[in-house]
């Protein structure tokens, strides 16, 4: 019924080849050099922060969580060292996201996809998984040979594979485990988890993240970057001709020729390229591309090809950085015999920096000046106003007081509005007449029912504004809110 025809058998002139090419497995070779060292360092730093940050303690006093970074979902609090955020303050995260996005743009306009190459979690974990694979199965050639071998599975090979997957799963499991520690007190949760007393949701999340880490870093690898991640497409719009990218300096490399031939031709005083076509840059590439074909979407700009090429250049006695961070403008300038120009300060980078400074400044300012005492008022809707037997009018309000500080407060409540208002809080017999006082425990909110009465002689004709002031009796800190006093 369905005859599948091999495209190779087709002879039509319109044949542009298959629409989809099956993935070729990539076997990146190990490499050493400057960028590899930077990558190891950043990997250790990023993973160190991720795995151990939940264990950092921060003293917030008795009864408060002592974890430095904690997302406390049940109590709707976010703790970050000295900062404690309440649900209504999530706009700080909006600010943080804006800063993060613009910082990404800024870095992109200066040094290209530094995020992709060094900091992206996909890169970091894939790199870690490759390191494990290399340690157990050997380097590129060995792995290729083992995979291609049609020999029946030997015990040695099976044990290698089992060991590799076990370590991968262990890393993946620890990754999922570290994730849940951000949502609960870490030492307590670890104890609960190992004694199988932990909450179900923690095990579920560990399971999910173990599976995703294992699959994404162990199997999908560079395919995540090329098929799943939107960033390669977006970054193309953010980069410009001045951005430094990992670049093959074809002005220096072409024409490619062998070491021997190059030496001969050089001796004759002829122009030859430094590239000896050794394919080392391709062998080390984790996405399996050839950087000499120019900028490509698949290139995550990890700089490993720079290290590989530098090592070869050192061996054949040619200057380093045949592949390096550069841009097309400079390649053309060098071809024209001009000195290369590196321009970091450009309108684009200035604008990005200004946005980061502005948003960051606003965030720091609002964080520094944010109020630790707050009040929200909601007018009763049904009935909006009540006439009492002596002709006075009463309005009722639901008042929510927020005490974001780490100590209990005594709060006095006043109302400014029509003359001679009296204020009563349901359930509170105030010592001071018409100035009810309530205690709000530390780090909590209190909802009060407030009855505000205007005597018959000062009855407003219509709706008039009324302003509520809540005053910390001890510190004098005041928060206010405005509502209306309504006549029936």
């Amino acid at each position: 019924m369905n005859k599948t025809v091999n495209p190779k058998d087709l002879t039509s002139e319109d044949d542009y080849g298959p629409l989809y090419a099956a993935r070729k497995k990539v076997y990146p070779q190990s490499v050493s050099g400057t960028f590899r060292r930077i990558k190891w360092g950043l990997m250790a730093f990023c993973l160190g922060v991720y795995y151990f940050l939940p264990f950092v303690r921060w003293n917030r006093g008795v009864g408060a969580p002592s974890q430095a970074v904690l997302i406390d979902l049940p109590n709707s609090r976010f703790y970050f060292f000295f900062i404690e955020l309440w649900p209504q303050e999530v706009y700080y995260f909006t600010g943080l996201l804006i800063v993060a996005a613009v910082a990404l743009f800024l870095i992109n306009s200066i040094g290209g996809r530094i995020w992709c190459g060094y900091l992206c979690q996909q890169t970091v974990w894939t790199d870690l998984f490759y390191a494990v694979e290399r340690l157990i199965e050997g380097d590129r050639r060995e792995r290729m040979k083992k995979d291609a071998s049609s020999d029946p599975m030997k015990l040695e090979r099976i044990s290698e594979i089992v060991l590799k997957h076990s370590i991968w799963l262990l890393i993946a499991w620890w990754t999922g485990g570290a994730w849940v520690l951000y949502f609960n007190d870490a030492p307590t949760l670890v104890k609960e988890l190992v004694t199988f007393q932990g909450p179900m949701i923690a095990y579920v999340w560990i399971g999910i993240l173990t599976a995703t880490t294992y699959l994404l870093a162990g199997y999908m690898r560079e395919q995540v970057c090329t098929y799943m991640c939107p960033w390669p497409r977006i970054q193309a719009a953010l980069t410009d001709e001045w951005a430094l990218n990992v670049t093959y300096r074809y002005d220096r490399g072409e024409k490619r020729t062998s070491v021997k031939k190059a030496a001969e031709l050089r001796a004759l005083g002829q122009q030859v390229g430094d590239c000896v076509d050794c394919y080392q840059c391709v062998a080390v590439c984790p996405t399996g591309i050839d950087i000499r074909n120019g900028p490509q979407m698949e290139c995550i700009q990890c700089g490993l090809c720079i290290d590989a090429c530098d090592n070869v250049m050192a061996k054949i006695g040619r200057p380093k950085r045949l592949i390096g961070y550069d841009n097309d403008i400079n390649i053309h300038r060098r071809q024209e015999g001009k000195a290369p120009v590196y321009r970091i300060v450009r309108p684009r980078t200035i604008v990005y920096s200004a946005i980061i400074a502005a948003v960051g400044g606003i965030m720091i300012y609002t964080l520094a000046t944010r109020s630790l005492l707050d009040v929200n008022v909601l007018h009763d809707r049904n009935p909006v106003a009540v006439k009492l037997s002596d002709g006075s009018i009463r309005n009722a309000y639901t008042v929510r007081l927020l005490n974001k500080s780490g100590y209990d407060r005594v709060i006095a409540i006043d109302a400014d509005g029509p003359a001679n208002l009296t204020v009563h809080v349901v359930g509170v017999d105030s010592v001071t007449p018409d100035r009810p006082m309530v205690v709000i425990p530390r780090d909590s909110t209190s909802e009060l029912r407030l009855l505000v009465t205007a005597p018959a002689e000062s009855n407003p004709e219509k709706s008039v504004p009324v302003r509520f002031h809540v005053t910390d009796v001890g510190l004098g800190e005041v928060a206010s809110a405005t509502d209306n006093f309504v006549a029936p």
């Binding site: 019924m1 369905n2 005859k3 091999n6 009935p383 009722a396 359930g427």
Partner: protein
């Protein structure tokens, strides 16, 4: 399907033979994993038919092998909910009525519980916020027919007014006109007299002395000297600004002629004691309590 020998040159796949405006449809079968999952769901559903209640019969239904039913699981969940709230509701039931408002946690619980129960049971007459209507008292104001202290409110909720319960509040406004006790002109006069008690304007040429005489002879027994009312009998204070059935002359004439006897049902037996307690606190906290 007939075999179409036509092959698409770009993909190398055969086509279905369908063509629209030069665009041909490739013959791409459903992926095998998809088809297998589809069949598996069918097999799975057969298991469901057997294991869970599924088939309607003439007078009942198949009960399934597991004995599961949504009704039973709902009962379990409701019981769990009751158990979950049991401790707090027990604290509410144990606390003396007068102390509940002084404990912020108990007050919050009583108000939350009271609001829900009020919405289910009281709102049809008193309105969702307790604002009342003609004949149904506003629970937010400070005028109480049967008394506005916590205990009195609780008693009214428990036993009702003219509800038929043994302990209910009794007392009614007599129909002075219908029963022939007062003549029409006397009713007009006393109605105007009552309006004058709360400072409302009276009809031109109205005889205050005659009104006072009629009032003393007929109304003082319940409404008291000067019309100050009597909570024992549910007789309203006629000197204040709040009128359950309206304060205009026509409404007063109707009240005096026809009498009034609004009914508040008794909630004892329908709601458990802790709930009634919560409701008393809630109604008291609306602002009208004393």
């Amino acid at each position: 399907m007939t075999d179409h020998s036509e092959v698409d040159t770009v993909t190398g796949k055969s086509t279905t033979g369908h063509e629209w405006d030069g665009i041909k449809e490739l013959n791409t079968p459903l992926p095998r994993w998809w088809v297998i999952s589809f069949y598996l769901t069918i097999i799975w559903s057969i298991g469901y038919w057997i294991v869970y209640p599924a088939w309607p019969l003439i007078s009942s239904h198949t009960t399934g092998l597991l004995g599961y039913s949504t009704r039973a699981s709902l009962a379990v969940e409701l019981a769990n909910l009751e158990a979950l709230r049991g401790e707090k509701m027990a604290a509410l039931a144990a606390a003396p009525l007068a102390d509940i408002e002084k404990d912020p946690a108990l007050l919050a619980l009583a108000r939350a519980k009271g609001r829900t129960v009020f919405g289910d049971n009281c709102a049809p007459c008193h309105g969702s916020g307790g604002a009342g209507a003609k004949g149904y008292p506003n629970l937010n104001d400070d005028d109480w027919l049967w008394g506005g202290t916590l205990d009195q409110i609780m008693q009214t909720i428990q036993f009702g007014a003219r509800s038929g319960h043994a302990k209910t509040h009794e007392g009614q406004m007599l129909a002075f006109g219908k029963d022939g006790v007062l003549k029409a002109d006397e009713i007009v006069t006393v109605a105007n007299y009552v309006r004058s008690l709360s400072g409302l304007p009276t009809r031109k040429g109205f005889d205050a002395a005659k009104g006072e005489k009629i009032f003393t002879e007929n109304c003082v027994a319940c409404h008291g000297d000067g019309g100050k009312g009597n909570q024992e009998l549910g007789a309203p204070d006629l000197t204040d600004k709040i009128w359950l059935y309206g304060s205009d002359e026509a409404a007063l004439i109707e009240t005096i002629s026809q009498g009034r006897a609004g009914v508040m049902p008794a909630w004892e037996g329908r709601l458990d004691p802790a709930t009634i307690k919560a409701m008393a606190v809630y109604v008291h906290s609306l602002g009208g309590g004393k």
